[in-house]
Amino acid sequence: MQTQVLIIGGGATGTGVARDLALRGVDSILVEKGDLNSGASGGNHGLLHSGGRYVSNDPEAARECKLEGDIIKKLMPQCVENTGGLFVAVEGDDSNFIADFPSFCVTCGVPCESITPEEARFLEPTLSAKIIAAYKVEDASIDPFRLTLLNMGQAVSMGSRLLRKTKVTGFDIRDKKIRNTRVMNVDTNEEFSIEAEQVVNCAGAWADQVCRLAGIGIQMQYSKGTLLVTNDRINYRIVNRLRRPSDADILVPGGTVSIIGTTSTPVEDPDAIYPTVEETDLIISEGSAMVPVLERSRFVRAYCGVRPLFGKSGGSDGRSVSRGFTLLDHSNENVENLTTITGGKLTTFRLMAEKTADNVCSKMSITAPCRTSIDPLPAADDSRWTEPGISPKKWMRSHQPDDIMICECEMVTKTVVDEIIDSLKSKNERPGLADIGHRSRLGKGACQGAFCGARALAYLYERGEFTWGEGLVEIGKFFQERWKGIHSILWGDQLIQAELMESIHCGLFDEELHTTLK
């Protein structure tokens, strides 16, 4: 395969680079070893920062957030719910920090309005009675899955190619240039190579692994952050704790749910991370200082991501490493056509993509300017099923008379599953059960997939997508994906559901005896 630019990594940055290049008329191939957003781009709050979070310790990041937040709200509104946000302090929080916050905001150009605790509780009735100070800011919530799918969707519509489940295994470097990039399909183990003028490493927390394949060492730290999703939406606006960044101090509403997080724990390896029981308990006890109802809330899911932090210093939890991004041109390390972009955050993904594309284009003597700060992101339809609540709304509005409900908790219909399968197949991808789960609300409701997972599987056989015993492996993978998200929050109603799921799939169907663990 040949292309002008090979992009490694299908998170917000990689797909943003693909779109940016496509708008400049540059051909690209994006390879992703897992699925889109399977790293930090999927494992975050879905918060479009106003910048308030960083005004005290990272003014540059705060300024970037303000500027980029404005661009995204204007040009990508279909991915944004413009909720607004609050910063609130509770009894015992640092009074100096509370008093200094407005001036920090002014310094960074981040709009901030002081309101009384009573006004804050009027706006957000679930706030604690122990609120002692509050400020209004311009935070918003953003759907990172929709964002990534739409960015990639536009790039693909302009000729870029996406290869999911495709892992880079090595580079053939001659005369200071990557001549060929060797890749492997992780499902089939099929190997092939891609010839590109430029290679861009957008592998996020895996960026150092990619660099190592080119014989380059970069210094990275990984910080794991865990978040919890509530069963109901409990706040209208983003609620931030008014203190230096710490555990469980942001509550982000989105669709029909709220998300509380995060923790920040250094980890050695960005793979094989999962939310733990200890983190879950910490998040609930910390978060309930701001919003006491969290102590009694039903949680439907826990998840985590790894923040890729560039550099080595930064305190015990990595919170003091800058959340700014780093662009590394590896010409200095004798690989002239490799560029790495790392660090950063979801809010600044567009800017990161722009700077990366600028660098790559200048190396190819392409002068076309960046358009992502001017052109609106087109709304395509491939991604709409990821938003909580939108599938029921859509079904209620216009369901086909012969449509069948596959997932009754989240109202995912046969038509939705068909569209996802067709969309995957049009990209030459084999539709797996976990892929459908990734692209829809399937398995994300109360039954945790116990019923709809089995129904979707039966339907995939009916469609002829599966033809032998692979369904047992597929449903095992599907449940494991769901399990990662629930195993730390299994008490009360969720434990009952988990028991029901196991009683059907192990007690009756013996699936644990038929699937081999990886």
Partner: protein, 442 residues
């Protein structure tokens, strides 16, 4: 020991036994108690048996972490006893387990839901997921499926348009290597051709009518070819399954069988119907869909049970209680972030040290999740004990999945544990009553 005069609620009556729970364990305990002429009352939610598949497992996997499967369940039980396991089977003899099965099966057989087992071996049966599993005792309606699988006979599996959780194609594809000669065949269900979605219980009711069966058979006949069996999802009627099966076999000219599928299952409805209607005829006071709200103990040791909530409060007096309230689904056990609880008697529980140790990181980890072996510990009479082995109340017994040291989902022992521990508990109660009456007579 006198039976109550009527099924009407008499607040003054002191029952010999109160059974709490309406799953297999609660139903079995009620049957064993009324069979022994104990005056018995039973309460529990309505849905208890609906989550069963109809298969009555004894045990087929042990040790679970080795995924070791046993064709002979008694060998599995011997292995478990040999390891000094604390599993409930280690407190009951094989004869008692066998007698417990015999008694419940003979009751169900006499009420029109026939079962088959081969005493010394587990049966192999296919599920709607396309897996082959061991079970000990299967409904007669599934028996030809055991035969057909054993012979790998040419077989037609029928499914119905709109029955979302059952795909004959899936079963055929998944079983292809072990049983290549399965032909899937999809038909619209007679009389429901216009419906997009059909439900197992509705199909079962419709098949009670002979016209439906004749229409169905004529849909299927063209696809039979050289098939020697015809398999269906488990929807062959609720009350008259043997008649329905025999009629279908006659008009198709072939043996037919049902394939167990997801809850809420039709065989589960059959069990519920029989328990709901037949046990009261044997003298059981069955408080359908009533939960026990709270329990106190009178000075003489009798239990006073408050039932029916604020709207219809009832007070039941009972000399003994069998707690067969199940685990989390049945709300016999409750959980919060800090631990698990038994809400009615606040019984001490054997449980992992904290939530971090409840579940593995992999859902299908063969070792099974430790939380699923948590529960009530008992003595050899199935009376709950505390950590030191002291009996909590001398007239309180526990049976079924609430018991500790068993993981029924992974060992495939749900019905077996339910039936045999209910049997052991009722017999323990009988022994106490006999001793007392001998003492009284002397």
């Amino acid at each position: 020991m006198a039976l109550p005069k009527s099924h009407n609620y008499d607040p003054a009556h002191v029952f010999d036994v109160m059974v709490i729970g309406s799953g297999i364990a609660g139903m079995a305990a009620s049957l064993f108690a009324v069979d022994r002429k104990l005056s018995t009352v039973q309460a529990g939610s309505a849905g208890g048996t609906l989550f069963t598949s109809g298969l009555l497992d004894l045990i087929s996997v042990y040790p679970i972490e080795e995924k070791k499967m046993w064709a002979d369940p008694w060998e599995a039980i011997a292995a478990l006893r040999n390891d000094e396991s604390l599993h409930p089977y280690a407190r009951i003899s094989n004869d008692e387990i066998q007698s417990a099965f015999d008694e419940i099966i003979s009751f169900l057989n006499s009420r029109g839901m026939k079962f088959r087992c081969e005493r010394n071996r587990n049966l192999k049966i296919i599920t709607s997921m396309g897996t082959v599993k061991y079970s000990y005792c299967v409904p007669e309606s599934m028996w030809h499926g055991v035969e057909a699988l054993e012979k790998r006979a040419p077989c037609c599996i029928v499914d119905f348009r709109g029955l979302k959780e059952f795909s004959a194609r899936q079963i055929a594809a998944t079983l292809h290597e072990t049983w290549p000669d399965i032909r899937p065949f999809r038909v619209p269900f007679p009389g429901m051709e216009q419906r997009n979605e059909v439900h197992a219980a509705h199909l079962a009711r419709a098949l009670e009518l002979s016209e439906t069966r004749i229409a169905l058979a004529s849909e299927i006949k063209p696809a039979i070819g050289d098939a020697r069996y015809v398999g269906f999802p488990a929807v062959l009627g609720i009350r008259r399954t043997p008649v329905i099966q025999a009629h279908l076999e006659k008009i198709l000219g072939l043996p037919v069988f049902e394939i167990p599928m997801m809850p809420a299952s039709v065989p589960g409805f059959r069990l519920k119907e029989i328990f709901d209607t037949e046990l009261p005829l044997k003298g059981l006071l069955r408080l359908i869909d009533k939960r026990v709200d709270s329990v106190t103990r009178a000075e003489n040791g009798n239990f006073l049970l408050n039932i029916g909530g604020e709207e219809q409060p009832q007070l039941i007096k009972a000399r003994t209680v069998i707690l067969a309230s199940g685990r989390f689904m049945g709300k016999g056990l409750l959980s919060d972030r800090k631990g698990i609880y038994e809400p009615l008697f606040n019984l001490p529980l054997s449980q992992p040290s904290g939530r971090h140790a409840w579940h593995h990181e992999q859902f299908l980890n063969p070792a099974g999740h430790p939380i699923n072996s948590a529960g009530v510990e008992v003595d050899d009479s199935f009376r709950p004990v505390d950590g030191t082995g002291r009996v909590i109340h001398e007239n309180l017994y526990a049976a079924g999945s609430i018991l500790a040291h068993q993981d029924w989902m992974r060992m495939k022992s749900g019905s077996g544990v339910a039936i045999s521990t209910a049997y052991a508990a009722v017999n323990a109660i009988m022994r106490v009553i006999m001793d007392r009456s001998i003492r009284d007579t002397a």
